[in-house]
Amino acid sequence: MAEESQGWLARLRSGLAKSADRVGGAISDVFTKRKLDQAALDELEEILIRGDLGVATAARLTTALAKGRFDKEVTDGEVREALADEIAALLAPVAKPLVVDGGPRPFVLLVCGVNGSGKTTTIGKLAAQYKAQGKSVLLAAGDTFRAAAIEQLQVWGERTDCPVIARAQGADPAGLAFDAVRDARDQGHDIVIIDTAGRLQNKKDLMAELEKVVRVIKKQDATAPHACLLVMDATIGQNAHAQVEAFKDAVEVTGLVMTKLDGSAKGGVVVALAEKFGLPVHAVGVGEGIDDLKPFEARSFARSLMGLDG
C-alpha cells in the first residue's frame, strides 16, 4: 500500500514534471537574474497560458506576482514559489473530498461528463474505495447508449465486487436510475453510483435527457441525487468553462473530478475553473488502474504545476 501511494505521487509528479518541464524550464530562462519588468511579466503570462490556465487567469496571476516585486531583481526560484503559492491559495478552498459518511442512505451519486472523459473508470475506482471502507455499493449502468458501455461497468462491478443494475442497450436511462435508487434502498446499500452516457454540453436533447434522469431520481428520493460529479479530462482546454456552465445548469453539479493527470497535460484550466465557479474538486485520476484515484491537493497540484518538488 505504501508502495502504491509512493507510486502515484511519483507518477503524478513525473507526469506533471514532464508537462511542467517546459513551464519550469521556460521560467528559468526568463528569470535567472532578471528584472521583473513588463516584458518579463508578459513572458510569464504566456507560460501560464501554455499550462491551459487561460488568458484571463494568467493575467490575474502575473499581476498579483508583480505586486511589490515589480522592477526588482528576482530569481527563478522566487518566481516559481510565489506563483505556486498564489495558485495554491486559489485552489485551497476547492480542494474538498466528497463526503458520503453521515449523509443519507442510500447516498445517490450521479456521474456525468462529456464523451470519453473517464466517468466509468472513475466510478470503478470510487466503488473500490467505498468497498475498502466497508460500505456496500450498487452500480447503475446508466450509459445505455454507447456500444458495450454496460459490459464495461459490469467488469468494474466484478473487479470491485459490487452488484450492477443494468438494462438492455437503448433502454431509458431515467427508468434505470429510478429502479437503481429503489433497489439500493430496498436492498439496504449505502451508496448507489449512477453512470451516464458521455454527452457534449451543446446537445440540447442529450442535456434534457440528463435532466430527466435527475427528475426521475427525485421521485424516489426528493433529496437525491446527493452528489453530482462532473468528470473532466486533464487534456481539455478552454472548453472546460462551457462544460461546467452547461452541466451545472442542467443538473446542479456538486463537484469535479479531473482525470488523466498522469499524462503530459497539465489540467491547468482547473485553476481558472476554481476562480470562476468555486466548485469543489474532489479527486484526480492518475492512471487506469483501480487504485489510481487520489484526493485533489491544492498545494502539491500547484507546486507540481510550477515544476517544484513536494
Partner: protein, 457 residues
Amino acid sequence: MFESLSERLSGIFDGLKRRGALKEADVEAALREIRVALLEADVALPVVKDFIDGVKEQAVGQNVLRSVTPGQMVVKIVHDALVEMLSPADPEGAGLAIHGNPPQAILMVGLQGSGKTTTSAKIAKRLVERDKKRVLMASLDVYRPAAQQQLQVLGKQTGVPVMTPVLGEQPVAIANRAMETGRREGYDVVILDTAGRLALDQEMMTEVINVRMAAVPSEVLLVADAMTGQDAVNLAKEFNDRVGITGIVLTRVDGDGRGGAALSMRQVTGKPIKLMGTGEGVDAIDGFDANRVAGSILGMGDVVGLVEKAAQVVEQEDAEKLAKKMMKGQFTLEDMGEQFKQLRKMGSLDGILGMLPGAAKVKNAFDQHNVDDKMIARQEAIILSMTPKERRNPKEINGSRRKRIAAGSGTSVPEVNRLLKQHRQMADMMKKVGKKGGLKGLMGGMPPGMMPPGMPR
C-alpha cells in the same frame, strides 16, 4: 462566453473607418486581439506566435477594399491564412492511402477516450459504402474493460466483420492474425483499433511501435479530440516522432469547442488532418473542412458553409419569384409554408445557427421564444392543414376553421392564432422591405421566416 473576434476588432478599428492601406500600428493592435482569440480557442502558444508573425507580414500595407472595414479586412486575411495552414499541403494527401497490394492496414492511435474505436467503425463503414472496399476490423485494446466487445458491437451495427477476440492474445499477435486473415480472405483494408495510451508511457508506446512494424500500415491515424488544450502540440509531436503518423482525425467537431488544437497538431506534425468526427453515430464522419474549423477557431461561424448549403436547397428561381411577390406586398401562407419546408431541408435549426456568426445570441433569443425544429414542424403542419383557399386568403379563417385546422394539425387554436399573427407581421414587414427594393438573390425571403414575432432584428 467568448466575445467574437469581429466584435473585438470592430472596437479597435472604430476610429479608423476610412483609411487606405493598413498601417503597422493598426495591424499590431488587431493582432493583439487575434492572439487572445487564438489562445482562447486553444491554439498552442508557439503556433500562435508563428502565425501572428506571418499574418503581420501579409497584412501591413494591404489596401482596404472599399466595401469592407479595416477590421473585416484583417479578419479575412487571418481567416484565409488559417484555412491555408489547416489545409493539406498536397490535396492528394487529403484522402486515405489505401492503394497498393491488399490488404492495407490502417492503424488507429491516440490518447485514452479520444474516439479511436468509434472512428474505426466510422471509417470502415465509409470505405465500404463510398469506396466499395472489403474491410475487416480488429481490436488490439486488451486493456480497457469491454473494449473488444465495443468494437464487436460496432461491427454488427455497421455490418463490417470484426476479428473474434482470443482470450489472452496480445496486440502484436492480434495484428498479425488480422493481417493474415485479411490476406487469406481477400480483404482490401484491415483497420487496427488500439488501446488509448499516453505519450509518456514508454511501454505502451513501444507496444504500438511493434504493432506498426508487424502490420506495416499504409495509414497511421492519430485520433484527437477537438477540445484538446495546449497539450495538443506535445501529444501530436510525441506520437508523430515515436510512432510516425500519416494523418490526423479530429473528433467531436460537433461540440462547441473552438478546435484550436487542429491548428496546433497540423503545424507541429506537418501531417494532414484527413477526417473529422461530427457525432456519436457511425455515419458521423466527414472529410476535413478547413473553412469550418477556421471559422470556429475565430468564432466567426461558417458563413461560406451556410451560403453554400442554402444554395443547394433554395432554388434560385423560387427565391426570385418569392422576392418579386414580396416586393408587391404579396406574401401568402403558402409562401410561408414553402419557407418552412426550405428551412427544414437545410438541416436542423441548431445546425444552421451553428454556422452563423454571433450565433450564440441568436440562439438565446430563439430559446427564449421556444423556437426549435419541433416548432417549425408544428407550424408547417398548421399550414398544411389549411385548404389552398385559406392559405391564399387568411382573412377567411374564422373561429370554426381555426378549430378544424388545430385539430387537423394536432396543435391548438392559440398556436394557430399565433401563426396567423406571425404571418401578418411578416407580410407587413416584407411589404416595407419590398418598397425599399431590398431582398434580392439567394437568401431571399429566408431569414424573416426564421424570426418569430417580437424578435430583435
